[in-house]
Amino acid sequence: MRSMRSTGFRRRTQRVLEQGTSFVADASASFRRNGLMTAAAVTTIMVALLVVGAAVLIGLNLGNIAEVVEGQVQVVAFLRDGLTSVEAEKVRTAVGAVPGVEEVEFVGRGEALQRLQQQMGEHAAFADLASTNPLPDSLEVQLTDPRSAPVVASVVARQPGVAEVTYGGEVVDRLIALTRGLRGVAALLTVFLTSVALIVVVNTIRLTVIARRQEIEIMQLVGATPWFVRWPFLIEGLFQGAAAAVAAVVVLGTVYLVGMLRLQVTMPFLPLAGPADAALPLLGSVLMGGFCVGAAGSLLAIRRFLTS
């Protein structure tokens, strides 16, 4: 048996580079030849990545909105009537020492009235309130964690000099529930849509592999090792994933930029993520997603057709 046992060993190192180039040539040749199938697969992966990218962008923006909404939660402590400014300052210090409090601001009754008038719209009917201002002095308390509002409020209420505490009551609870809900929805959406993408990709490549199982069988009959058979599919999966990812990034980027500009005009108060903030998560998730998922998909898909 002349070369039966030794072939495998002798030329191994030298062979690796040579085979590398021919694998890539193979993959791109099959890219050209199985045009229809490749187009189908790339479209499908692209669509899946669009979904993943959209989920990332939506999650990013929901996160932003939730943060801003939570940042607006504050506890207001109304002070007893007739405190001197020294006494008021004492109360301010005491409230500032309550755990969970980040910052305390004193708001005089005059300023409070002005704010109320602004909130109500500046129409004439409120003008005569200035003389008989019914509002008390108050402390506006910023929290380290908006979710601790009810607890902090009850502690602050027990401080001497504090007449009454409000943290918007139901409103704050609702805001917190809302942001929590938004976060949950964003997470769910991302998980759901990412699994969509994965399933679609694995199935696409599996169907490609099924359509070529004859080829795989023949390669193995001629003496190809499992990795020799795998490589072209792996590289093809990577190519497809990369092509799909680039297309998805271009589409998503364009749509997001245009959509963001539109939304910013009609709803300037919405705290959307800017292009700079969105670029990295988008590129990272979609490109990495395309590569990994293309590679993992082909390896998974080919598994059951190897070593009959």
């Binding site: 002349r2 070369s3 039966m4 072939t7 495998g8 099959s30 069988e217 193995q220 009959l221």
Partner: protein
């Protein structure tokens, strides 16, 4: 080179393709395997390139027990063989040239040699003028010759040919037989199944005759059939 020890092969559907076959082929021999259709000739070859495993008994190729080979050693085994499949088994989406070059790449042949060796193999089977055709665009006999070229391109120590002249006219068949004889003279062991009475009767090589999965005749310098 090749040895069957009391080999029985049953397929999952209950068909007993081989029954207690024992057979020994020495290096350098040229063996015809004959017998009616469905008697296990292809199965005999499939056991050698480990496309199937025996139900009972053992099969040796070059001293190694093929029937007990672990999965990862199978590619190594097949690289030492040349196989002409009864149904050709050409890659439909590769050109003729690529189909043959593929067999060389698999054994890790130096790329600079591949081109010339492929052309030489194509030349031997008389198809050097159509390296860029796709298999689906070739006639039956042309496809069969591509399959033969692929089997011999890597100078294997053992050549298994399953009905290699089934789609060839008498002249082409003779040319192919000359190619196989020449390879055999250079030391390659050849095992060939055939239904071609003329070829067997004229070449007068060793003949192994199967009937219903059993070896019913093993004769050196034999004829296709005893009573013919």
């Amino acid at each position: 080179m090749v040895q069957f020890q009391d080999v029985t092969k049953g397929y999952p559907n209950g068909v007993l393709a081989l029954r207690r076959v024992s057979l020994r082929v020495d290096p350098g021999e040229f063996v015809f395997v004959v017998g009616p259709t469905g008697t296990g000739k292809s199965t005999l070859l499939k056991l050698l390139y480990r496309d199937e495993s025996p139900t009972e008994g053992r099969v040796f190729v070059a001293g190694r027990d093929v029937s007990a080979l672990p999965h990862r050693a199978i590619p190594e085994l097949r690289r030492g063989l040349g196989v002409v499949f009864q149904d050709f088994k050409l890659l439909p989406s590769r050109t003729v040239f690529e189909n043959i070059a593929f067999a060389l790449r698999v054994i890790g042949a130096p790329p600079q040699e591949i081109r010339s060796r492929v052309i030489r193999a194509l030349d031997l089977v008389g198809l050097a003028h159509r390296p860029d055709a796709m298999p689906g665009h070739l006639s039956g006999g042309e496809q069969q010759r591509i399959s033969i070229a692929r089997a011999i391109v890597n100078d294997p120590p053992l050549l298994l040919a399953d009905e290699p002249t089934g789609n060839l006219d008498p002249n082409s068949s003779w040319e192919i037989m000359q190619v196989l004889s020449r390879i055999n003279l250079r030391g390659t062991t050849v095992i060939m199944t055939t239904h071609n009475k003329m070829i067997v009767d004229i070449l007068r090589r060793r003949v192994v005759q199967l009937a219903a999965g059993r070896v019913v005749r093993d004769q050196s310098r034999g004829l296709y059939a005893v009573d013919a």
